[in-house]
Subunit: 168 residues, 2 copies
């Protein structure tokens, strides 16, 4: 990308990273997560996974997507996590005020079609109730043929208070 | 989940979260990321996205999967990020010593089949070269019909030094 196209946010990140490397030493970190945990949660900007869960660098795999759902791609990631890197426990974390709660897939598909001329042929994953969505993801992982029979927890993160509540 | 099944790691996380809520105040945070950034990166435990990029809570969407690839599910998440929450810039971050570099999908599929009796019918996403994988993800996003024509950057994260290098 030409310098002329770079935004101030992108430039800021590169500058912040240069500062980060001054103190960072990853020479003793291994790929296998120290805690044995794999976390699946939402991409939401208000969730700082490491801070909210007290995790340090090297502790856990963190899989994030819109909604924090156990999608096929999250299953793919979890197979890699379990089979190659030995994690043995899963925590699914949904959250309050999620952008996917109550969205109308159809309205968004129509908007995209009118802008791009191509009809959206994938489900965006919207759900009516976040606790039900968490339960469905937990259930899918607990019964999936390629996921190991390890503990699978379901938690709800409150973006206002930062509190985790056990759902499953 | 019954208390008897809870591991010490899970219990520790709940205790850490209780401490977290004592100081956390999310009442002023909105769902729309303040920086307008959506980050796609690997689930790898050695990548602390917020720290390595100097991001604060509320700044950016963070999409993570095995490899940090622009999978169909990452595209789904990005559509939600752009259409519902207004992000207008994407950063794809691959990393050195990735678990997916050079893996043999077939060997893992065979192992899973022998343990579960069911043949794996999904690609794990293994790649030969991480820089090529980053370029492929960036190119997919730059040309995808449902992704907006916004800046898409590709960076390589060195897990030993913490340094980001521009790839695309």
């Amino acid at each position: 990308m030409a310098d002329g196209d770079a935004t101030s946010e992108y430039e800021r990140i590169l500058a912040e990273n240069a500062r980060y490397t001054e103190a960072f030493d990853g020479s003793k970190l291994e790929a296998a997560p120290l805690s044995g945990l794999a976390i699946i949660t939402c991409m939401d900007a208000r969730i700082s996974v490491e801070q909210a869960l007290g995790l340090r660098i090297g502790d856990a795999h963190v899989i994030r997507n819109a909604g924090g759902l156990a999608t096929d791609d999250a299953i793919r990631s979890l197979i890699v996590s379990q089979e190659l890197l030995g994690t043995d426990e899963v925590i699914v974390i949904g959250h309050t005020y999620c952008g996917l709660a109550g969205i109308d897939d159809d309205a968004i598909a129509t908007r995209l079609a009118s802008r791009t001329g191509r009809r959206l042929d994938l489900a965006l994953g919207g759900f009516a109730d976040v606790e039900d969505a968490i339960l469905a993801s937990v259930e899918r992982l607990r019964t999936h043929p390629w996921i190991r029979r390890v503990p699978v927890h379901g938690l709800l993160f409150d973006v206002r208070t930062g509190r985790l509540t056990e759902i499953a």
